[in-house]
Subunit: 214 residues, 2 copies
Amino acid sequence: MKSRNERHNKQNISYRLYLVSDEGVLGGRDFLKSLEAAILGGITVLQLRHKEGSSQAFYHRALKVKKLTEYYGVPLIINDRVDIALAVNAEGVHLGQQDLPVTVARRLLGPDKIIGASTATVQEAKEAEAEGADYIGVGALFPTATKNNTRSVSLERLRIIKNSLCIPVVGIGGLTKENIPSVLNTGVDGVAVVSAILAQEDIQQAAKDLTKIH
Amino acid sequence: MKSRNERHNKQNISYRLYLVSDEGVLGGRDFLKSLEAAILGGITVLQLRHKEGSSQAFYHRALKVKKLTEYYGVPLIINDRVDIALAVNAEGVHLGQQDLPVTVARRLLGPDKIIGASTATVQEAKEAEAEGADYIGVGALFPTATKNNTRSVSLERLRIIKNSLCIPVVGIGGLTKENIPSVLNTGVDGVAVVSAILAQEDIQQAAKDLTKIH
Protein backbone atom coordinates (compact mmCIF):
# COMPACT_ATOMS: atom_id res chain seq x y z
CA MET A 1 0.00 0.00 0.00
CA LYS A 2 1.47 3.31 -1.07
CA SER A 3 1.17 6.44 0.99
CA ARG A 4 -1.88 8.54 0.44
CA ASN A 5 -0.32 11.36 -1.50
CA GLU A 6 2.16 9.45 -3.56
CA ARG A 7 1.35 9.74 -7.24
CA HIS A 8 1.21 6.51 -9.18
CA ASN A 9 3.99 6.05 -11.63
CA LYS A 10 2.88 3.22 -13.84
CA GLN A 11 6.39 1.80 -14.02
CA ASN A 12 6.40 1.27 -10.26
CA ILE A 13 3.11 -0.52 -9.80
CA SER A 14 3.17 -3.93 -8.18
CA TYR A 15 0.82 -6.45 -9.74
CA ARG A 16 1.51 -8.91 -6.93
CA LEU A 17 -2.06 -9.17 -5.63
CA TYR A 18 -4.58 -7.87 -8.14
CA LEU A 19 -8.22 -7.84 -7.08
CA VAL A 20 -10.96 -7.93 -9.69
CA SER A 21 -14.15 -6.67 -8.08
CA ASP A 22 -17.33 -8.66 -8.52
CA GLU A 23 -20.37 -7.72 -6.50
CA GLY A 24 -21.97 -11.10 -7.15
CA VAL A 25 -19.70 -13.03 -4.77
CA LEU A 26 -20.22 -10.70 -1.81
CA GLY A 27 -23.43 -12.35 -0.65
CA GLY A 28 -25.11 -9.00 -0.05
CA ARG A 29 -22.24 -7.39 1.88
CA ASP A 30 -21.48 -3.71 1.27
CA PHE A 31 -19.43 -3.24 -1.89
CA LEU A 32 -17.25 -0.33 -0.80
CA LYS A 33 -16.62 -1.71 2.68
CA SER A 34 -15.61 -5.04 1.15
CA LEU A 35 -13.16 -3.33 -1.18
CA GLU A 36 -11.78 -1.31 1.71
CA ALA A 37 -11.21 -4.52 3.68
CA ALA A 38 -9.36 -6.01 0.71
CA ILE A 39 -7.22 -2.89 0.45
CA LEU A 40 -6.42 -3.01 4.15
CA GLY A 41 -5.50 -6.67 3.67
CA GLY A 42 -2.88 -5.69 1.14
CA ILE A 43 -4.12 -5.87 -2.46
CA THR A 44 -1.80 -3.95 -4.77
CA VAL A 45 -4.18 -3.19 -7.67
CA LEU A 46 -7.96 -2.97 -7.89
CA GLN A 47 -9.91 -3.55 -11.08
CA LEU A 48 -13.53 -2.40 -11.19
CA ARG A 49 -15.73 -4.59 -13.38
CA HIS A 50 -19.32 -3.55 -13.98
CA LYS A 51 -20.72 -5.46 -16.93
CA GLU A 52 -24.40 -5.03 -16.08
CA GLY A 53 -26.29 -1.78 -15.72
CA SER A 54 -26.11 1.69 -17.20
CA SER A 55 -23.14 3.90 -17.98
CA GLN A 56 -24.35 6.28 -15.30
CA ALA A 57 -24.43 3.55 -12.65
CA PHE A 58 -20.91 2.47 -13.63
CA TYR A 59 -19.72 6.08 -13.50
CA HIS A 60 -21.18 6.77 -10.05
CA ARG A 61 -19.80 3.52 -8.69
CA ALA A 62 -16.39 4.23 -10.20
CA LEU A 63 -16.37 7.71 -8.65
CA LYS A 64 -16.91 6.22 -5.20
CA VAL A 65 -14.32 3.50 -5.70
CA LYS A 66 -11.81 6.07 -6.98
CA LYS A 67 -12.19 8.08 -3.76
CA LEU A 68 -11.43 4.93 -1.80
CA THR A 69 -8.41 3.85 -3.86
CA GLU A 70 -7.11 7.41 -3.94
CA TYR A 71 -7.30 7.57 -0.17
CA TYR A 72 -5.33 4.37 0.25
CA GLY A 73 -2.97 4.87 -2.67
CA VAL A 74 -4.03 1.79 -4.61
CA PRO A 75 -4.15 2.06 -8.41
CA LEU A 76 -7.64 1.71 -9.91
CA ILE A 77 -8.10 -0.04 -13.24
CA ILE A 78 -11.48 0.18 -15.00
CA ASN A 79 -12.67 -2.86 -16.92
CA ASP A 80 -13.49 -2.29 -20.61
CA ARG A 81 -14.79 1.30 -20.50
CA VAL A 82 -12.19 3.85 -21.53
CA ASP A 83 -14.71 6.67 -21.10
CA ILE A 84 -15.43 5.72 -17.50
CA ALA A 85 -11.68 5.52 -16.79
CA LEU A 86 -11.22 9.02 -18.22
CA ALA A 87 -14.30 10.35 -16.43
CA VAL A 88 -13.07 9.33 -12.96
CA ASN A 89 -9.36 9.72 -13.73
CA ALA A 90 -8.62 6.10 -12.94
CA GLU A 91 -5.05 4.89 -13.31
CA GLY A 92 -5.98 2.76 -16.30
CA VAL A 93 -8.19 0.27 -18.08
CA HIS A 94 -8.24 -3.46 -18.52
CA LEU A 95 -9.28 -4.67 -21.97
CA GLY A 96 -10.64 -8.10 -22.81
CA GLN A 97 -10.38 -9.58 -26.28
CA GLN A 98 -13.91 -8.24 -26.96
CA ASP A 99 -13.18 -4.70 -25.79
CA LEU A 100 -11.56 -1.79 -27.63
CA PRO A 101 -8.20 -2.60 -29.24
CA VAL A 102 -5.16 -1.65 -27.13
CA THR A 103 -3.92 0.78 -29.79
CA VAL A 104 -7.22 2.66 -29.80
CA ALA A 105 -7.36 2.82 -26.01
CA ARG A 106 -3.79 4.13 -25.95
CA ARG A 107 -4.71 6.91 -28.36
CA LEU A 108 -7.62 7.96 -26.13
CA LEU A 109 -5.81 7.57 -22.80
CA GLY A 110 -2.38 8.94 -23.61
CA PRO A 111 0.99 7.49 -22.59
CA ASP A 112 0.67 7.74 -18.81
CA LYS A 113 -2.39 5.59 -18.18
CA ILE A 114 -2.08 1.87 -17.56
CA ILE A 115 -3.53 -0.45 -20.19
CA GLY A 116 -3.88 -4.12 -19.37
CA ALA A 117 -5.06 -6.81 -21.75
CA SER A 118 -6.56 -10.26 -21.29
CA THR A 119 -4.73 -12.88 -23.29
CA ALA A 120 -4.76 -16.66 -23.47
CA THR A 121 -2.05 -17.50 -26.02
CA VAL A 122 1.57 -16.56 -26.63
CA GLN A 123 0.54 -14.82 -29.84
CA GLU A 124 -2.15 -12.70 -28.16
CA ALA A 125 0.27 -11.81 -25.38
CA LYS A 126 2.99 -10.73 -27.80
CA GLU A 127 0.47 -8.72 -29.81
CA ALA A 128 -0.79 -6.94 -26.70
CA GLU A 129 2.76 -6.08 -25.73
CA ALA A 130 3.58 -4.84 -29.23
CA GLU A 131 0.41 -2.71 -29.25
CA GLY A 132 1.46 -0.96 -26.05
CA ALA A 133 -0.16 -2.87 -23.19
CA ASP A 134 1.50 -2.19 -19.82
CA TYR A 135 0.68 -5.62 -18.43
CA ILE A 136 -1.30 -8.68 -19.44
CA GLY A 137 -3.66 -10.96 -17.60
CA VAL A 138 -3.40 -14.62 -18.62
CA GLY A 139 -6.07 -17.22 -17.99
CA ALA A 140 -8.24 -18.92 -17.12
CA LEU A 141 -5.65 -21.02 -15.29
CA PHE A 142 -8.25 -22.99 -13.31
CA PRO A 143 -12.03 -23.43 -13.66
CA THR A 144 -13.85 -20.33 -12.45
CA ALA A 145 -17.46 -19.54 -11.65
CA THR A 146 -17.15 -15.73 -11.76
CA LYS A 147 -16.65 -15.44 -15.50
CA ASN A 148 -18.22 -17.24 -18.44
CA ASN A 149 -16.71 -18.16 -21.78
CA THR A 150 -13.15 -18.22 -20.58
CA ARG A 151 -10.50 -20.21 -22.39
CA SER A 152 -8.22 -22.45 -20.39
CA VAL A 153 -4.49 -21.84 -20.11
CA SER A 154 -2.05 -24.34 -18.61
CA LEU A 155 0.63 -23.31 -16.13
CA GLU A 156 3.19 -24.45 -18.67
CA ARG A 157 1.79 -22.04 -21.25
CA LEU A 158 1.68 -19.31 -18.63
CA ARG A 159 5.38 -19.86 -18.03
CA ILE A 160 6.13 -19.67 -21.75
CA ILE A 161 4.13 -16.45 -22.05
CA LYS A 162 5.96 -14.93 -19.07
CA ASN A 163 9.30 -15.85 -20.61
CA SER A 164 8.27 -14.37 -23.98
CA LEU A 165 7.41 -10.87 -22.73
CA CYS A 166 9.06 -7.91 -21.03
CA ILE A 167 5.88 -6.43 -19.48
CA PRO A 168 4.37 -7.76 -16.23
CA VAL A 169 2.23 -10.89 -16.46
CA VAL A 170 -0.61 -11.66 -14.05
CA GLY A 171 -2.23 -15.08 -13.79
CA ILE A 172 -6.02 -15.23 -13.42
CA GLY A 173 -8.88 -17.70 -13.27
CA GLY A 174 -10.01 -19.86 -10.38
CA LEU A 175 -7.06 -18.93 -8.16
CA THR A 176 -7.14 -20.01 -4.51
CA LYS A 177 -4.62 -19.95 -1.70
CA GLU A 178 -4.03 -23.62 -2.49
CA ASN A 179 -3.11 -23.20 -6.16
CA ILE A 180 -1.52 -19.72 -6.06
CA PRO A 181 1.95 -21.11 -5.15
CA SER A 182 1.97 -23.13 -8.39
CA VAL A 183 1.05 -19.99 -10.33
CA LEU A 184 3.74 -17.82 -8.74
CA ASN A 185 6.19 -20.63 -9.36
CA THR A 186 5.94 -19.95 -13.11
CA GLY A 187 7.68 -16.63 -12.53
CA VAL A 188 4.67 -14.35 -13.14
CA ASP A 189 4.52 -10.94 -11.52
CA GLY A 190 1.26 -11.43 -9.71
CA VAL A 191 -2.07 -13.13 -9.33
CA ALA A 192 -5.53 -11.75 -10.02
CA VAL A 193 -8.36 -13.02 -7.87
CA VAL A 194 -12.05 -12.48 -7.23
CA SER A 195 -13.55 -15.12 -4.97
CA ALA A 196 -10.31 -15.94 -3.13
CA ILE A 197 -10.75 -12.57 -1.45
CA LEU A 198 -14.29 -11.27 -1.94
CA ALA A 199 -16.13 -14.55 -1.33
CA GLN A 200 -14.31 -15.16 1.97
CA GLU A 201 -15.90 -14.49 5.34
CA ASP A 202 -13.02 -12.28 6.54
CA ILE A 203 -12.06 -10.35 3.43
CA GLN A 204 -9.21 -8.42 5.00
CA GLN A 205 -7.64 -11.56 6.47
CA ALA A 206 -8.11 -13.45 3.20
CA ALA A 207 -6.22 -10.73 1.31
CA LYS A 208 -3.53 -10.61 3.99
CA ASP A 209 -3.08 -14.38 3.79
CA LEU A 210 -2.61 -14.18 0.02
CA THR A 211 0.10 -11.53 0.36
CA LYS A 212 2.13 -14.03 2.38
CA ILE A 213 2.20 -16.74 -0.27
CA HIS A 214 5.47 -17.01 -2.18
CA MET B 1 -26.91 16.42 -47.49
CA LYS B 2 -23.67 18.37 -47.26
CA SER B 3 -20.87 18.04 -49.74
CA ARG B 4 -18.36 15.34 -49.12
CA ASN B 5 -15.48 17.48 -47.95
CA GLU B 6 -17.32 20.09 -45.98
CA ARG B 7 -16.35 19.99 -42.34
CA HIS B 8 -19.16 19.83 -39.83
CA ASN B 9 -19.58 22.95 -37.78
CA LYS B 10 -21.88 21.95 -34.98
CA GLN B 11 -23.68 25.28 -35.10
CA ASN B 12 -24.79 24.60 -38.65
CA ILE B 13 -26.18 21.12 -38.30
CA SER B 14 -29.78 20.55 -39.29
CA TYR B 15 -31.73 18.27 -36.97
CA ARG B 16 -34.64 18.19 -39.41
CA LEU B 17 -34.65 14.44 -40.07
CA TYR B 18 -32.66 12.54 -37.47
CA LEU B 19 -32.34 8.80 -37.97
CA VAL B 20 -31.67 6.55 -34.97
CA SER B 21 -30.28 3.28 -36.25
CA ASP B 22 -31.76 0.04 -35.01
CA GLU B 23 -30.76 -3.19 -36.68
CA GLY B 24 -33.77 -5.00 -35.21
CA VAL B 25 -36.31 -3.38 -37.53
CA LEU B 26 -34.41 -4.17 -40.73
CA GLY B 27 -35.78 -7.67 -41.07
CA GLY B 28 -32.39 -9.08 -41.97
CA ARG B 29 -31.49 -6.45 -44.58
CA ASP B 30 -27.88 -5.23 -44.73
CA PHE B 31 -27.19 -2.62 -42.06
CA LEU B 32 -24.78 -0.37 -43.96
CA LYS B 33 -26.74 -0.52 -47.21
CA SER B 34 -29.90 0.42 -45.30
CA LEU B 35 -28.18 3.40 -43.70
CA GLU B 36 -26.82 4.45 -47.07
CA ALA B 37 -30.34 4.34 -48.53
CA ALA B 38 -31.59 6.51 -45.65
CA ILE B 39 -28.77 8.99 -46.28
CA LEU B 40 -29.56 9.10 -49.99
CA GLY B 41 -33.18 9.72 -49.04
CA GLY B 42 -32.17 12.83 -47.14
CA ILE B 43 -31.64 12.21 -43.41
CA THR B 44 -29.70 15.08 -41.85
CA VAL B 45 -28.21 13.34 -38.78
CA LEU B 46 -27.47 9.68 -38.03
CA GLN B 47 -27.31 8.26 -34.52
CA LEU B 48 -25.70 4.86 -34.06
CA ARG B 49 -27.24 2.87 -31.22
CA HIS B 50 -25.66 -0.45 -30.26
CA LYS B 51 -26.91 -1.51 -26.86
CA GLU B 52 -26.16 -5.21 -27.19
CA GLY B 53 -22.78 -6.79 -27.79
CA SER B 54 -19.18 -6.02 -26.98
CA SER B 55 -17.28 -2.75 -27.06
CA GLN B 56 -15.20 -4.15 -29.88
CA ALA B 57 -18.26 -4.97 -31.98
CA PHE B 58 -19.62 -1.45 -31.39
CA TYR B 59 -16.26 0.04 -32.32
CA HIS B 60 -15.92 -1.91 -35.56
CA ARG B 61 -19.49 -1.12 -36.55
CA ALA B 62 -18.99 2.56 -35.72
CA LEU B 63 -15.83 2.66 -37.83
CA LYS B 64 -17.74 1.37 -40.85
CA VAL B 65 -20.66 3.73 -40.30
CA LYS B 66 -18.27 6.67 -39.88
CA LYS B 67 -16.74 5.94 -43.29
CA LEU B 68 -20.23 6.03 -44.77
CA THR B 69 -21.36 9.24 -43.04
CA GLU B 70 -18.01 10.89 -43.79
CA TYR B 71 -18.40 10.05 -47.45
CA TYR B 72 -21.87 11.60 -47.63
CA GLY B 73 -21.21 14.47 -45.21
CA VAL B 74 -23.83 13.46 -42.65
CA PRO B 75 -22.96 14.02 -38.97
CA LEU B 76 -22.63 10.82 -36.92
CA ILE B 77 -23.78 10.76 -33.31
CA ILE B 78 -22.85 7.78 -31.11
CA ASN B 79 -25.40 6.65 -28.53
CA ASP B 80 -24.15 6.53 -24.94
CA ARG B 81 -20.50 5.61 -25.46
CA VAL B 82 -18.17 8.59 -25.29
CA ASP B 83 -15.14 6.35 -25.79
CA ILE B 84 -16.53 4.92 -29.03
CA ALA B 85 -17.32 8.44 -30.25
CA LEU B 86 -13.74 9.49 -29.54
CA ALA B 87 -12.32 6.30 -31.04
CA VAL B 88 -14.00 6.80 -34.43
CA ASN B 89 -13.96 10.61 -34.32
CA ALA B 90 -17.74 10.83 -34.58
CA GLU B 91 -19.34 14.27 -34.55
CA GLY B 92 -20.83 13.67 -31.11
CA VAL B 93 -22.71 11.56 -28.62
CA HIS B 94 -26.30 11.20 -27.54
CA LEU B 95 -26.82 10.65 -23.82
CA GLY B 96 -29.88 9.13 -22.21
CA GLN B 97 -30.83 9.84 -18.62
CA GLN B 98 -28.97 6.64 -17.64
CA ASP B 99 -25.77 7.50 -19.51
CA LEU B 100 -22.84 9.68 -18.46
CA PRO B 101 -23.82 13.18 -17.27
CA VAL B 102 -23.60 15.89 -19.95
CA THR B 103 -20.96 17.81 -17.98
CA VAL B 104 -18.70 14.76 -17.78
CA ALA B 105 -19.11 13.97 -21.48
CA ARG B 106 -18.29 17.59 -22.31
CA ARG B 107 -15.08 17.40 -20.30
CA LEU B 108 -14.03 14.28 -22.20
CA LEU B 109 -15.15 15.44 -25.65
CA GLY B 110 -14.12 19.09 -25.64
CA PRO B 111 -16.14 22.06 -26.88
CA ASP B 112 -16.42 21.13 -30.56
CA LYS B 113 -18.22 17.79 -30.34
CA ILE B 114 -22.00 17.60 -30.35
CA ILE B 115 -23.69 16.40 -27.18
CA GLY B 116 -27.38 15.56 -27.28
CA ALA B 117 -29.49 14.53 -24.31
CA SER B 118 -32.75 12.63 -23.94
CA THR B 119 -35.25 14.51 -21.81
CA ALA B 120 -38.92 14.13 -21.00
CA THR B 121 -39.70 17.15 -18.79
CA VAL B 122 -39.15 20.89 -18.91
CA GLN B 123 -36.81 20.61 -15.94
CA GLU B 124 -34.65 17.90 -17.52
CA ALA B 125 -34.52 19.87 -20.74
CA LYS B 126 -33.43 23.06 -19.00
CA GLU B 127 -30.83 21.16 -17.00
CA ALA B 128 -29.40 19.55 -20.13
CA GLU B 129 -29.16 22.95 -21.78
CA ALA B 130 -27.51 24.48 -18.71
CA GLU B 131 -25.01 21.61 -18.58
CA GLY B 132 -23.93 22.25 -22.14
CA ALA B 133 -26.02 19.99 -24.36
CA ASP B 134 -26.10 21.10 -28.01
CA TYR B 135 -29.56 19.70 -28.64
CA ILE B 136 -32.14 17.62 -26.84
CA GLY B 137 -34.38 14.77 -27.86
CA VAL B 138 -37.84 14.84 -26.29
CA GLY B 139 -40.14 11.84 -26.04
CA ALA B 140 -41.67 9.40 -26.27
CA LEU B 141 -44.33 11.42 -28.09
CA PHE B 142 -46.22 8.33 -29.27
CA PRO B 143 -46.13 4.66 -28.27
CA THR B 144 -43.05 2.96 -29.71
CA ALA B 145 -41.96 -0.64 -30.08
CA THR B 146 -38.26 0.05 -30.66
CA LYS B 147 -37.44 1.23 -27.15
CA ASN B 148 -38.55 0.02 -23.74
CA ASN B 149 -39.13 1.99 -20.56
CA THR B 150 -39.83 5.26 -22.26
CA ARG B 151 -41.85 7.98 -20.55
CA SER B 152 -44.61 9.63 -22.48
CA VAL B 153 -44.53 13.31 -23.43
CA SER B 154 -47.52 15.19 -24.83
CA LEU B 155 -47.25 17.47 -27.83
CA GLU B 156 -48.32 20.32 -25.55
CA ARG B 157 -45.38 19.65 -23.23
CA LEU B 158 -43.08 19.36 -26.24
CA ARG B 159 -44.19 22.84 -27.31
CA ILE B 160 -43.51 24.22 -23.83
CA ILE B 161 -40.05 22.64 -23.80
CA LYS B 162 -39.26 24.06 -27.23
CA ASN B 163 -40.34 27.51 -26.07
CA SER B 164 -38.25 27.24 -22.91
CA LEU B 165 -34.91 26.54 -24.58
CA CYS B 166 -32.47 28.13 -27.00
CA ILE B 167 -30.85 24.91 -28.27
CA PRO B 168 -32.45 22.74 -30.97
CA VAL B 169 -35.22 20.37 -29.90
CA VAL B 170 -35.98 17.08 -31.66
CA GLY B 171 -39.17 15.10 -31.10
CA ILE B 172 -38.90 11.32 -30.84
CA GLY B 173 -40.96 8.25 -30.12
CA GLY B 174 -43.38 6.42 -32.39
CA LEU B 175 -43.18 9.00 -35.16
CA THR B 176 -44.80 8.20 -38.51
CA LYS B 177 -45.48 10.17 -41.66
CA GLU B 178 -49.03 10.52 -40.34
CA ASN B 179 -48.17 12.11 -36.97
CA ILE B 180 -44.99 14.01 -37.92
CA PRO B 181 -46.94 17.12 -39.10
CA SER B 182 -48.42 17.50 -35.60
CA VAL B 183 -44.92 17.25 -34.11
CA LEU B 184 -43.37 19.81 -36.44
CA ASN B 185 -46.36 22.04 -35.74
CA THR B 186 -45.08 22.51 -32.16
CA GLY B 187 -42.14 24.45 -33.56
CA VAL B 188 -39.44 21.86 -32.90
CA ASP B 189 -36.31 21.75 -35.04
CA GLY B 190 -36.66 18.19 -36.21
CA VAL B 191 -37.97 14.69 -35.80
CA ALA B 192 -36.07 11.56 -34.84
CA VAL B 193 -37.28 8.28 -36.27
CA VAL B 194 -36.37 4.62 -36.40
CA SER B 195 -39.12 2.49 -37.93
CA ALA B 196 -40.61 5.26 -40.08
CA ILE B 197 -37.50 4.88 -42.23
CA LEU B 198 -35.71 1.62 -41.42
CA ALA B 199 -38.78 -0.62 -41.18
CA GLN B 200 -40.13 0.52 -44.56
CA GLU B 201 -39.79 -1.55 -47.71
CA ASP B 202 -38.17 1.28 -49.69
CA ILE B 203 -35.92 2.97 -47.15
CA GLN B 204 -34.63 5.67 -49.45
CA GLN B 205 -38.12 6.64 -50.59
CA ALA B 206 -39.42 6.58 -47.01
CA ALA B 207 -36.70 9.02 -45.94
CA LYS B 208 -37.35 11.20 -48.97
CA ASP B 209 -41.07 11.30 -48.19
CA LEU B 210 -40.35 12.45 -44.62
CA THR B 211 -38.15 15.30 -45.82
CA LYS B 212 -41.17 16.68 -47.67
CA ILE B 213 -43.44 16.94 -44.65
CA HIS B 214 -43.80 20.44 -43.24
